[in-house]
């Protein structure tokens, strides 16, 4: 069993509190990404699991075993570092076998593990080379190989692809997913790249200022963000926000107006649950859901600042008439141009609603999306 249970984990550096009570339950064999902006504490959390940081409080369990106070070497883990951390003076074979040899493992067993790892990662022909003689991707493979030879219960990967160019990153991403499939061990992966997190993970932990902002499957994060931070962080271009007010409340028909909305929206239209006592709320909409319409049908008015044409789609940056900015994603051949006045329609069924504290108001998803999320969850459980 290599399930991880983290309870109330706290860690600070001097007066700076980096991890503020982290609670996580990661299942055996799961691929989990820690995602968040720089300084959110994701690497510190990973290093704490690795035993490379002294904790201020909390506990970590690997399976049934409490490893909070266990030395890093005895945690049955392996770690891949951002800059690979290969020993430059040793060849690839030595890099792979170094730790094993010093732990008293027999020569035959070391050779078997090294050959096996080299086989999996297709680096057999590189075993005699020094890291200096390897390309970025090959170095990355060797770093992963060094983790594989340990045959650990848990893999920890600290932004392992961030030093690679875009093309190689995609290739290595696919290889990592295949490796997880093949080995079937629990993997925790730190990244600030949401594409990596969304494509690789069974579940994603979104961290914000040392706290877990949301822990869910990639589609859950995208379609049901728990708060404004996750809503803004997941998705590219990021979600648009409009601050508006609750102006009328008759049963479930809460009306939203203000913030430049030409036509009021109701909670019924948004499929949202009732809001208790909130005055100011935030409306969120993904850029690809905004529609450029005629003046009568538009909720908001603005002027196009810039059009970025990407081929299949175009990103339209708009300055709203009542202040604030929005980005709309339209089809690549849409004739909209800079300095043009546009009217934006916010389809209510695609709008997210956040209360005064930035928490998401529960909303009903369309059947298709809900089915997709359920399938993703079912696959994870299986």
């Amino acid at each position: 069993m290599a399930a991880i249970r983290i309870e109330n984990l706290r860690k600070g550096f001097g007066s700076l509190e980096v991890l503020k009570g982290i609670n996580l339950d990661i299942a055996d064999g799961e691929f989990v990404c820690f995602l968040g902006p720089s300084g959110c504490g994701k690497s510190t959390l990973l290093r704490s699991i690795a035993g490379l940081e002294d904790l201020d409080g909390g506990s970590i369990h690997l399976g049934e075993r409490d490893i909070t106070e266990v030395a890093s070497a005895k945690r049955d883990i392996a770690m891949v570092f951002q800059n690979y951390a290969l020993y430059p003076h040793m060849n690839v074979r030595k890099n792979l076998s170094f730790g094993l040899a010093l732990n008293g493992m027999k020569r035959d067993e070391i050779d078997r593990r090294v050959e096996n790892a080299a086989d999996i990662l297709r680096i057999k022909e590189l075993l005699a080379r020094k890291p200096r003689q390897l390309s970025g991707g090959q170095r990355q493979r060797v770093a992963i190989g060094r983790a594989i030879v340990r045959e650990p219960k848990l893999f920890l990967l600290d932004e392992p692809l961030s030093n690679l160019d875009a093309g190689l990153r995609v290739t290595m991403r696919v290889e990592l997913a295949a490796l997880h499939e093949r080995l079937g061990v629990t993997m925790i992966y730190v990244t600030h790249d949401q594409v990596e997190a969304m494509t690789l993970s069974d579940r994603v932990v979104v961290l914000d200022k040392g706290k877990v902002s949301q822990f869910g499957t990639p589609l859950e994060l995208f379609y049901q963000p728990a708060n404004l931070f996750v809503a803004g962080f997941i998705g590219s271009p990021r979600m648009n926000f409009v601050t508006t007010e609750v102006t009328g409340q008759v049963d479930a028909s809460v009306t939203l107006a203000g913030g430049g909305l030409a036509h009021p929206l109701t909670l019924e239209m948004l499929n949202a649950a009732p809001i208790a006592g909130a005055k100011s709320v935030t409306l969120g909409i993904r850029p690809d859901k905004i529609e450029l319409v005629s003046a009568e049908a538009g909720h908001l008015v603005g002027d196009v600042r810039l059009v970025e044409r990407l081929g299949t789609e175009s990103h339209v940056h708009i300055s709203l008439q009542n202040g604030g900015d929005m980005t709309a994603v339209v089809r690549g051949t849409h004739p909209v141009s800079a300095r043009e006045r546009v009217h934006l329609r916010l389809p209510a069924e695609h709008c997210h609603l956040f209360d005064g504290d930035g928490r998401a108001v529960a909303r009903r998803l369309d059947v298709e999306t809900q089915t997709l999320i359920n399938q993703e969850k079912a696959k994870r459980v299986a």
Binding site: A50, Y87, K130
Partner: protein
């Protein structure tokens, strides 16, 4: 009317002038250093080489003697071999001690977090103190009657020896006094330690590599170029040992600390035989050069350079 404009200068002439300026400019920029090198380094070197082929008294007639100075030094002067042997003995003890102690000190300073700046300064300070001041301090420490060392030994019931008066102990005393200035070597190694990526140690820690093995198999190889540098500079400084011996023991007792540099010094400034002293200097230069070449050759087996790709390392594919 014939008018000439500055801008009307033929293009070819302008291009030629700018090409000269382009090639000459770097040399003009480094010319102060080149002149300094010619007058104060290369000039004296050539001059001393010339002197070594002459009978060159400070006052009197100089006469060309060819290789006579070298021949009589190597085959007729027992003091040459004695002083060389003392220097080799000194170097054989001083060099490894200097490197090992500097390394251990650097390792400790690298790991302490409390008042690290203070300790770094404290350990480095002796190496910037002038030789004369250092000898004055050590002559007090080693003094038979009032010395600090014997005073401290008396606390544990040991009657201290005559450090500078005993032919067997005097060279030990000079080695210890010389090691007092290991701050420079320590600082170089400390800089090297700080440049080793900490991820290498973390990767080893996670892999269960014990601390001693990390020092042996990661720290030492990664410090290779620095260790080589300090090894060679330590050999050079050991062969150049003069100030401490000259001021602390004056080569005694019974010539037990009569170093090779002192032998050269005496020939030049005591016997005023500049030609002979110059020949001695060139002999020392050749010995140090040969030793350095030998160490450099040997280092290929244990020094790793980050940017280096050796022939037998396989095909480059970065």
């Amino acid at each position: 009317m014939d008018m000439t404009y500055a801008g009307a200068e033929p293009k070819v002439a302008r291009r030629k002038r700018s090409a000269i300026a382009r090639y000459a400019a770097p040399y003009l920029f480094i010319s102060p250093w080149i002149l300094g090198f010619l007058f104060f380094t290369l000039g004296p070197l050539v001059f001393s080489l010339t002197m070594s082929f002459y009978d060159w008294p400070v006052v009197g007639v100089r006469s060309f003697v060819g290789l006579d100075n070298y021949r009589s030094m190597l085959f007729e002067d027992p003091q040459f071999w004695e002083s060389l042997w003392i220097t080799v003995k000194f170097a054989a003890i001083y060099v490894p001690f200097n490197i090992v102690m500097s390394f251990l000190l650097a390792l400790m300073l690298h790991h302490i977090t409390f008042a690290s700046g203070f300790f770094r300064t404290a350990f480095y300070l002796p190496s910037v103190i002038s030789g004369v001041a250092l000898v004055t301090i050590w002559s007090w420490i080693y003094s038979k009657e009032y010395g600090l060392l014997n005073f401290m030994l008396s606390f544990v019931g040991i009657k201290g020896p005559n450090w500078l008066g005993d032919p067997n102990l005097a060279i030990v005393a000079i080695i210890i006094a010389s090691l007092w200035g290991l701050g420079g070597t320590m600082l170089i190694l400390l800089t090297g330690l700080k440049a080793i990526p900490k991820e290498l140690y973390e990767a080893a820690t996670v892999s269960g590599v014990p601390g001693w093995a990390q020092t042996l198999f990661i720290t030492l190889p990664m410090l290779g170029p620095m260790l080589l540098f300090t090894f060679i500079t330590s050999i050079i400084s050991a062969f150049q040992q003069l100030t401490i011996a000259l001021l602390l023991t004056k080569g005694g007792p019974l010539g037990s600390t009569y170093f090779f540099a002192m032998y050269i010094y005496d020939n030049a400034f005591k016997y005023f035989d500049m030609g002979y002293a110059a020949a001695g200097s060139w002999v020392m230069f050749i010995i140090v050069l040969l030793l350095s070449i030998a160490v450099m050759r040997w280092s290929a087996a244990w020094v790793y350079y980050e940017g280096e790709v050796r022939q037998n390392d396989g095909e480059h594919n970065a």
